[in-house]
Amino acid sequence: MELSLNSLTKQYDTLTAVKDLNLTMASGVYGLLGVNGAGKTTLMRMICTLIRPSRGNITCDGKDIFEMEGDYRRQLGYLPQDFGYYPDLTVFDYMMYIASIKGLRPTFAKSQTDSLLEQVDMKKASKMKMRKLSGGMLRRVGIAQAMLNDPKILILDEPTAGLDPNERIRFRNLISELADDRLVLLSTHIVSDVEFIANEIILMNKGEFFFTGTAEDIVSSIGKEVWTCTVPRQEVDEYLKRYLVANVKTASQGAELRILSDRPPVPDARQEQATLEDAFLFYFGEKAGETE
């Protein structure tokens, strides 16, 4: 199974939300990383056939997905960023309803619902009304509904938004488990969501892909060293102006800064191993500060 974006563009009057994207994806986890407004959601909505491209196309094994219609959507699982649900349904009834619109026969739908609710640890809550679920539980139901038809293509738009750190880790592990033999495209603006589970990371900004590769490729591409040094607190603002500062931590003798620079910012600066988060800061600059 191969999903290709061919010169994909989405234009809204004067705004180009997605600009001339070209990419071919096969099985594996793809992490789409970018700040808010980068065009990630628009791209995902196009892949899910919610909106049509202004130019270019998306093909699944060589066929245009908009011409494939139901045949394509049969292979698709989608968890939107703003996951809507019917609050007056129970978790089980909601899953059975989604199974019906996914075209699953009742016996298979029930078996899938049972096993997926078990997998996302929601079996005990299956009789609960959807409106009573916490944010984390809703996200788990969200991923379970996306998996109901055992999709070949799984699209997850900001699946960890609003989750606490524990739930985020659980969610990451769950996605890793589910990624077997399918294409998972996961968009996020939280670096740690994709750092360990994505086979390939795509950096997106202003509607364009500007880097595609593994986490190591991205880290090694920044061409700067990472340093930590302790400076007097009153000088922090000066360093923030002069350098790309990844982190500021208050220490007893001043402030400990994590700085991306070709040269050591101070003579006694310690060199550190660069991380994906440093690369994110390097590529997205001040906007990276919007990450959680």
Partner: protein, 251 residues
């Protein structure tokens, strides 16, 4: 195994191996499930599921509206009040469907629905078919009953009840097919239309000036427009509206 010999016996004893039976059951279940997973839900099964999903309270309320309309018709004798009252009941009958028609929009379920095998197009088609079928039944019973038992002319029922109801339904489907798809806008326009109808019905000179053939022609046009509004809705409902960070809506 000598079958001939076994058949000659009065009693055949077969030793059942519990483990083997369980294996066969497991395999049969697996084969059945595999076959079920390959097959798709048929369209009539899908419609049945949509019927289960629709909250039946709206039909109960529609029934109640018709019941009160019946009581009103059987107790009121002044033609002037009957004309105005029927218009109000007709608008109410159609407005009641708004919460159910707007349900997936209100609950932000459209993204998942558009991306599903039976997409929003089929979901709306199924809902409209079900609402249509039930409403035709209810209205046939109401109009038939009013005509035969209360001796109200069919033309009066069409012009005083069905016409304002069809126009209200047109408003609902046109708004649902529009970019913003606001349920409140639909309710507002329906109430406004109800006021306009009330004014027409209250103006005896104007109402009487319009002859029956003209009323029937208007009704036919309204009915055709309703069909067009439903067609437009079904054609465009799979188009998702994007909202940018500034809140602007794009199609």
């Amino acid at each position: 195994m000598d079958i001939e010999k076994l058949l000659g016996k009065e009693r055949i004893e077969v030793v059942a191996d519990e483990a083997e039976i369980q294996t066969v059951i497991r395999k049969a279940k697996a084969v059945f499930m595999e076959s079920e997973s390959q097959q798709l839900l048929s369209y009539h099964e899908f419609i049945w599921n949509q019927l289960r999903m629709i909250r039946k309270r709206w039909w109960a309320i529609q029934f109640a509206v018709l019941y009160f309309a019946w009581l009103f018709l059987s107790t009121e004798s002044e033609i002037f009040y009957i004309r105005r009252g029927m218009g109000v009941f007709a608008a109410l009958f159609a407005i009641i469907l708004i919460p159910e028609l707007w349900r997936n929009l209100t609950n932000r379920c459209m993204e998942v629905e558009i991306a599903s095998y039976y997409s929003l197009h089929q979901i709306y088609a199924a809902k409209i078919l079900l609402f249509g079928a039930v409403d035709v039944l209810l209205l046939t019973a109401f109009i038939g009953g009013a005509h035969f038992f209360l001796s109200i002319a069919l033309t009066d029922l069409v012009t005083q009840f069905l016409l304002p109801m069809v126009v209200t339904a047109c408003i609902c489907f046109v708004v649902l097919g529009k970019q913003h798809r606001s349920g409140w806008l639909a309710i507002g326009l329906c109430v406004l239309w109800s006021g306009v109808w009330w004014a027409i019905a209250a103006n005896n000179q104007l109402y009487s000036a319009i002859t029956i053939p003209i009323w029937l022609t208007v009704f036919v046009f309204a009915f055709l427009f309703l069909a067009f509004a439903i067609y437009r809705l079904l054609k465009n409902c799979d188009k998702y509206m994007e909202v940018n960070l500034n809140g602007a809506v794009f199609e």
